[in-house]
């Protein structure tokens, strides 16, 4: 049945299982990914189907985990290596950004690196400053990497498949607060092309560009604003490196107003690159500055009372959209 629903979590597991069935060179390595099935259960059951040879529990050694993937990939395997939390990208940054990303170029092209790094980003679980970050902007500044941040079960499976099949180091960033969300997921193997955004809602007044969990918040804001007679076009980027700037520009030239949204710290985030490109390539079409919604310039606080004020939500997004449409609501939180 083409309308089968799966959770975001199970879409990930299914996509990975299908890749492992299709290609004996695909294996998974990481902390507690084997016997335990991952601390978020995203690898549940895979060890039963593929054994410990292909579902490899590793020591707590993020640098060596990425290196394991690089070395195995450079000699021809197709590894999937897991960093439990996206915050741990910072522990393994040398292997990711100095080694994996640059290897092919430094070798003058005489190599390919079919490596997939999976990780779990995002705030909202009171996990504190070192277990809640959205660090994609750092990865997007590194030539040689690809980075996807799907918001739906469908896109997660399709982008995971595309990443595992890709001959470049790809980082697949899941969002912990989306794990239980449901959506239609085809049972067969399919790809969502890396670097292609989706227009998830057509509109005429303003373009709202978001990704990962913020894509859902943006949609909620659009729904709310529809009641006020504001027509939002919503774009889910799905991939943040490469960026599907063309889809964004087509919409921007149509609506003449753009609000970019992400959960990461606003300053220096992916939204900055988007705003810079939009104002550059759609300069004469813009009726308002490209606006950015993101986290304020602070670490992620622990207390739910602070964290909920820290993470952007549909209300903050709606407020920004109104302002970008020159319809500010006084005293609204930014």
């Amino acid at each position: 049945m083409s309308d089968r629903e799966l959770t975001y979590l199970h879409a990930f597991t299914e996509g990975l299982r299908q890749m492992m069935e299709a290609d004996p060179d695909v294996f998974v390595a990481g902390e507690d990914v084997g016997r335990t099935g991952g601390v978020f259960h995203s690898f549940d059951g895979l060890v039963d189907d593929f054994g410990e040879r292909r579902m490899v529990d590793t020591p707590i050694s993020e640098q060596a985990i990425i290196g394991l993937g690089i070395g195995a990939a450079v000699v021809g395997l197709r590894p999937v290596v897991d960093l439990m939390f996206m915050d741990f990208v910072l522990v393994a940054m040398d292997q990711i950004a100095n080694q994996a990303a640059k290897l092919k170029y430094m070798f003058g092209g005489n190599a390919s690196l079919p490596l997939t790094i999976t990780t779990m980003g995002g705030a909202g679980l009171s996990a504190g400053a070192q277990h809640s970050q959205s660090l994609e902007a750092m990865l997007c500044h590194v030539p040689g990497l690809k980075v996807v941040m799907p918001s739906t079960p469908h896109d997660l499976k399709g982008l995971l498949v595309a990443s595992v099949r890709d001959d470049n180091p790809c980082v697949v960033v899941l969002h912990k607060r989306l794990l239980g969300s449901k959506g239609v997921v085809p049972e067969d193997v399919y790809e969502v092309p890396i670097g292609s955004a989706a227009v998830t809602r057509a509109g005429s007044d303003v373009t709202v560009v978001a990704y990962s969990r913020m894509a859902a918040e943006a949609m909620a804001a659009a729904d709310a604003l529809a009641a006020e007679g504001i027509s939002c076009e919503v774009i889910d980027l799905r991939s943040v490196l490469p960026l599907d700037i063309d889809t964004v520009l087509v919409s921007a030239r149509k609506t003449n107003r753009v609000v970019v949204v992400h959960e990461a710290v606003r300053s220096g985030g992916v939204g900055a690159e988007l705003a810079a490109q939009i104002q550059d390539h759609a300069f004469d079409y813009l009726d308002a500055p490209v606006a950015r919604v993101g986290a304020p310039f602070a670490p992620v606080p622990f207390s739910p009372a602070l964290e909920s004020a820290y993470v952007p939500d549909s209300a903050v997004i709606a407020a920004q959209i109104r302002e970008t449409l020159y319809r500010p609501m006084p005293g609204e939180r930014r």
């Binding site: 016997r35 335990t36 602070l306």
Partner: protein, 325 residues
């Protein structure tokens, strides 16, 4: 010969305080009154108590994701601790840190840490400062068996040994890293075998015996204060609860029998028996201690529950220091 009765009583009281605090934290977590993660210390009390009772006030301690026990053992304020776990404005970190970042710099407790191994280089930095200042203060760092597999631990341990810094490395070997047994992540029998790689003296201690931990710590501190460089102490211990949260039985990564065997060697029960046997305390004294600690913790819970949540207007405070030298 056994230490003075006051020491024994200290060890006992601190262990009981840790045990009851953590059991309460676990209950509050399951009742969703504590958000996020809690990595409970129950089972390992003899290590934190044994080490901290042996310390001087000026010695620093650094901790891990499983850090409540260390701060309690150091004399941390239970009210501010409980309030922090609940994310209240009256907590140690005003609700900004939570369980994994609890700290008390006035007690020279340099903080828990959410990154495995992340606190070890920082503890070595504190040890460097002690040597730099020419005092005989020691920086003590607690870390798990699993954390010795990460690079930051290695670099910091070697740095301490190469520079001969006053640092005490306390490895709490509870035989698991999350849900993975230690023998699957390192091909050595005892973690202490790693000390030799740094030219650091190492010693194994029964981490279920607070007196043994206290005495080994004392010996190690003497050697470190004498300028002989860092020491590595491996404490064999066990966590009764799950990696995070409470659930303890019926886990597939370790058998209920194994848990039961370790519980039979419970450090608190054992010490209480010894106290009575040695006439250090009567059953009544022990009951009194337990009752007093229970009261303390009830007060702490009431304080925390009655405390306000942090004001969102304070969200952007504390990112930077404004004062400057």
């Amino acid at each position: 010969m056994r230490p003075d009765p006051q020491i024994i009583t200290e060890l006992h009281e601190r262990m009981v305080r840790i045990r009851f605090f953590e059991e309460a934290a676990g209950r509050l977590f399951e009742a969703t009154k504590i958000p996020g993660f809690v990595h409970l210390y129950v089972g390992q009390e003899a290590v934190a108590a044994g080490v901290c009772v042996a310390l001087r006030d000026d010695d620093q301690i650094s901790s891990t994701h499983r850090g409540h026990g260390h701060l309690v053992a150091r004399g941390g304020d239970l009210e501010r601790m409980m309030a922090e776990l609940m994310g209240k404005a009256t907590g140690y970190c005003q609700g900004k840190g939570g369980s994994m970042h609890i700290c008390d710099l006035e007690l020279n407790m340099l903080g828990a840490n959410g990154i495995v191994g992340g606190g070890v280089p920082i503890a070595v930095g504190a040890g460097f400062a002690n040597r730099y200042r020419g005092n005989d203060t020691v920086s003590v760092v607690f870390f798990g068996d699993g954390s010795t597999n990460i690079g930051a631990f290695h670099e910091a341990a070697n740095m301490a040994a190469a520079l001969q810094l006053p640092v005490l490395f306390v490895c709490e070997n509870n035989e698991y890293a999350e849900y993975t047994a230690r023998d699957r992540t390192m091909a050595i029998d005892d973690v202490v075998e790693r000390a030799a790689a740094y030219g650091m003296p190492g010693r194994v201690v029964d981490g279920m015996d607070a007196v043994a931990v206290y005495e080994s710590t004392g010996a190690a501190l003497d050697s470190i204060r004498a300028g002989k460089g860092p020491v590595f102490l491996e404490c064999k211990t066990y966590r009764y609860f799950n990696h995070h949260g409470i659930q303890t039985l019926g886990m597939k990564y370790r058998s209920d029998d194994e848990v039961a065997e370790w519980r039979e060697r419970d450090a608190i029960t054992a010490l209480e028996a010894a106290m009575v046997a040695d006439g250090v305390a009567t059953a009544a004294d022990i009951q009194a201690t337990r009752a007093a600690v229970t009261a303390e913790i009830d007060t702490a819970i009431q304080f925390a529950e009655a405390s306000p949540l942090p004001d969102p207007d304070r969200l952007l405070d504390d990112v930077y220091s404004v004062a400057r030298s």
